[in-house]
């Protein structure tokens, strides 16, 4: 093998690497020796690192490392630290009545944040990510509350659910199936539906509504109120306004009287605990419609 000839740059007198690009050559200046030492230092660092931390792969897993560090363990530590930090607030929320929480701006801030994240886990499946609801599932942003919109009432509803039989204190009512069970005739049901459209300020059939008014007073006013203003104590929704859980067209109203749909909401009290229930109540209450 022939020895490569050393190529010396004329101007600097320094050896080049022998590579040339369009006449440009690279000088092969010696590297400073301390630079080499830093390289050795990184190697020594590596040895220490692989001893202290998990590093070498094996058949069933990697070496554990002398420090016993794991990413899972670190997460657990961080979670614990976060919990410890939150516990100050959670304790205060635990001690306070839901109305007391709402009166303290600092607690409200924490409760709204906590309630918001709990809502996104447990409630959005039915009520929607913006609590805007959908047909059959109430919108929690508006100002109509079937079971009452005060902080305590909201907390109660979350705690015990609606028509949730395992919970003794659940919100419960049942609307008779006026058509299915032949309590009212088809004609009467249609007339009442026209009347409901009248009191809710929609277009209606005057004659039919006049007939329906009488039936409404006898059959419906006990739960929905004389004027159809709703009876939250009984969970009778207001009918004289613009908000409809199952739709406000004549056809939809007829369908609901004929064979009512009645939603069920589970009781969350035991599952979530009182602290989370309070935070959820404060969160829902401040969405814009709380009373």
């Amino acid at each position: 093998m022939a020895e490569d000839k050393k190529d010396i740059d004329e101007i600097s007198g320094v050896e080049t690497t022998g590579h040339e690009w369009d006449g440009i050559k690279e000088l092969n200046n010696p590297l400073p020796r301390w630079w080499l030492w830093t390289f050795y230092a990184t190697i020594i660092w590596t040895i220490g690192y692989t001893i202290l931390y998990p590093a070498w792969p094996g058949i069933t897993g990697a070496t554990a490392g002398v420090l016993g560090w794991t990413s899972r363990g670190q997460l657990a530590e961080e979670m614990q630290a976060a919990r410890a930090e939150q516990s100050v607030w959670l304790d205060r929320i635990d001690q306070a009545e839901v109305t007391e929480i709402a009166a303290d701006p600092e607690l409200v801030q924490f409760a709204v944040a906590g309630g918001s994240s709990a809502f996104k886990v447990y409630c959005v499946q039915c009520h929607g990510s913006g609590a805007q609801g959908s047909p059959g599932y109430p919108n929690l942003n508006d100002d109509e509350w079937i079971w009452g919109g005060s902080l305590e009432e909201i907390a109660w509803t979350i705690r015990h659910g609606v028509r949730y039989e395992p919970d003794f204190d659940t919100r419960f009512n049942e609307m008779p199936a006026y058509g299915r069970d032949d309590i009212l005739s088809r004609q009467e049901i249609s007339d009442v539906a026209w009347y409901v459209r009248q009191i809710s300020g929609q277009e209606y059939d005057e004659e039919a509504a006049a007939r329906g008014a009488e039936t409404f007073e006898i059959e419906c006013s006990a739960c929905h109120g004389i004027e159809g203003e709703g009876v939250p104590e009984l969970g009778g929704p207001a009918l004289n306004d613009a908000i409809w859980l199952y739709g406000g067209s004549h056809e939809q109203i007829v369908a609901q009287i004929n064979n009512p749909q009645m939603g069920v909401m589970p009781a969350w009290g035991e599952r979530l605990g009182e602290t989370t229930i309070k935070q959820l109540a404060v969160y829902v209450h401040q969405l814009g419609g709380g009373q």
């Binding site: 200046n29 613009a242 401040q286």
Partner: protein
């Protein structure tokens, strides 16, 4: 008569001369540099700049500036926790970072300007690496003496005297390093409080960590690594090549009057040889903090500290030549003078630059101040000044009251029981003065609409008085509802207006009100 022998030839060689050996190793050990003390104009200038820059660095955090009871009274404070930057009468919020960015751009262009005019003046005079290295050298000289004494000491065996000198030197170096790191943290918290906390062990861990890291970097980079940082670590020596041009002032050895350099000039003259002005005493090499020989021309290692100018001027005074054998000169002037000095044989002939009575011939060019004024420097300066004026104008005209609005995305609107349409907004009122203020938030447009605000009592209205804490942002959940008879389908524009009567400040945010399309 001149006595050439009065100038001793120093035993010194440029550190980068070794690279010129024909066979070179892969790695080269660092050659220790023992810079000799220089005296003269540039050395004095560097002392002054060192005193001023170190003074600014150490004193600034302790300057007080009264901003009233609701803001810190530290003149310069970077308050990271509260995301505020205080600089005397200026307070910067995070969204006003454009001012800092502008200053950084100015610093960049300023560096281009300075470099194109006077070369690497930043490196030579004001770079912290240079200033601290200079300071560490002062300490070294105090304990170990000047160049020759230090060389001798390094060669000595480890006697008690040597150990004590070295220990004292490193101890003082470490003290300086700790003070350097220590001063840094005071820019980020109330200095007097932090000083007490730091001394009593009450300061946050990050304070001790920062001091530790900066102590280490100051000691390692400034005291130990010195010129190695400039030569191997810093990118600026590479960048500067693109910034310099033939009209930039750089530290230059003027071959045209120095060559042929020789010792024993009297003897040479007697033999009919005409020597150049350089007496080859190596004083320029001995004082160089990066250990190079400026007579080899412009080099990447040269930080243009100009100490070789001082050293050479002293020698020129001694031998009776004009000062300026090494001087700040432009490449254009240098090239011109070299053409004058070079004879037909390609060698420098001192008789070509000298008149018979000893002065320089008229064709020799020297630097004229107006050479600094050229297209490139004018453009740099204009850009620099324009940004500066722009920043000042923006600073004078900026708002101290602002409103930002975010429309709820989900739900976009909500229908209420009476048929009204309601939109939710997050309204952020920024009270950017250090006084509590009552800000009036009102609606402009959107007939019939009223707003209700979470946490603010009162019936829905078109206007609310909102108390906002000093120097704080207050976020509000605002619900705007419009009665059904006035709702327009789709999107309708309106404005949130914030007003403060005392200062007469107003800010407007143009928002949209969303309603069903049908």
């Amino acid at each position: 008569m001149l006595d050439q022998t009065a100038v001793e030839k120093l035993d010194v060689e440029a550190v980068n001369a070794g690279a010129k050996a024909s066979s070179q190793p892969l790695y080269a050990a660092r050659q220790k540099i023992h810079p000799k003390r220089a005296e003269g104009f540039y050395r004095r200038l560097k002392w002054i700049i060192m005193a001023v820059t170190l003074g600014i660095y150490y004193v600034t955090p302790w300057i007080r500036w009264d901003r009233g009871p609701h803001a810190p009274d530290q003149a310069v404070l970077i308050d990271i926790a509260n995301r505020r930057f205080y600089f005397f009468f200026v307070e910067i919020w995070p969204q006003e970072f454009i001012f800092i960015a502008g200053l950084l751009v100015m610093a960049g262009i300023g560096l281009f300007l300075i470099t194109s005019v006077v070369g690497r003046a930043w490196c030579g005079y004001t770079c912290p690496q240079t200033v601290w290295t200079d300071l560490f050298l002062v300490v070294e000289r105090f304990f170990e003496g000047d160049r020759n004494a230090r060389i001798k000491l390094d060669k000595e065996p480890w006697t008690a005297s040597k150990v004590s000198k070295k220990t004292a030197k490193h101890a003082v170096w470490l003290l300086i390093a700790v003070a350097t790191g220590g001063a840094w943290i005071f820019y980020f918290a109330d200095a007097p409080t932090l000083a007490v906390d730091f001394a009593t062990g009450q300061a946050p861990f990050v304070a001790y960590g920062t001091v530790g890291v900066l102590t280490a970097t100051t000691y390692v980079l400034g005291a130990i690594m010195r010129e190695q940082v400039c030569i191997y670590m810093c990118p600026w020596p590479r960048i500067q090549a693109a910034m310099l041009d033939e009209n930039s002032l750089v530290v230059t050895y003027n071959d045209w009057r120095g060559e042929p350099r020789m010792r024993g000039q009297k003897k040479a003259k007697a033999q009919g040889v005409v020597p150049g002005d350089c007496v080859d005493c190596n004083a320029c090499v001995a004082v160089c903090p990066t250990g190079i020989d400026i007579r080899d021309g412009q080099q990447l290692e040269c930080i243009t500290c100009a100490l070789c100018i001082d050293a050479c001027d002293a020698v020129m005074d001694k031998v009776g030549h004009e000062r300026g054998l090494i001087s700040y000169a432009t490449l254009a002037d240098y090239n011109h003078n070299m053409r004058v000095a070079t004879g037909e044989d390609g060698k420098i002939d001192p008789t070509r630059v000298r008149t018979p009575d000893g002065g320089f011939v008229d064709r020799i060019r020297t630097f004229q101040w107006r050479e600094m004024l050229r297209l490139r420097t004018v453009i740099y300066f204009s850009a620099w000044a324009a940004i500066g004026i722009g920043l000042l104008v923006a600073l004078g005209a900026r708002d101290r009251l602002e409103v930002n609005v975010l429309h709820d995305r989900n739900p976009v609107f909500t229908q209420l029981s009476d048929g009204s349409i309601r939109n939710g907004y997050t309204v952020k009122i920024l009270n950017m003065v250090a006084e509590p203020r009552t800000i009036t938030l009102s609606l402009d447009g959107l007939p019939g609409a009223t707003m209700a605000i979470n946490g603010i009592d009162g019936e829905p209205a078109r206007s609310f008085d909102i108390p906002v804490a000093p120097d704080k942002l207050r976020p509000l959940r605002v619900f705007v509802a419009q009665p059904p008879e006035q709702v327009q389908p789709g999107s309708t524009g309106f404005s949130f207006v914030v007003e403060e009567d005392l200062a007469g400040e107003v800010d407007v945010y143009n928002a949209n009100f969303e309603a069903p399309e049908d």
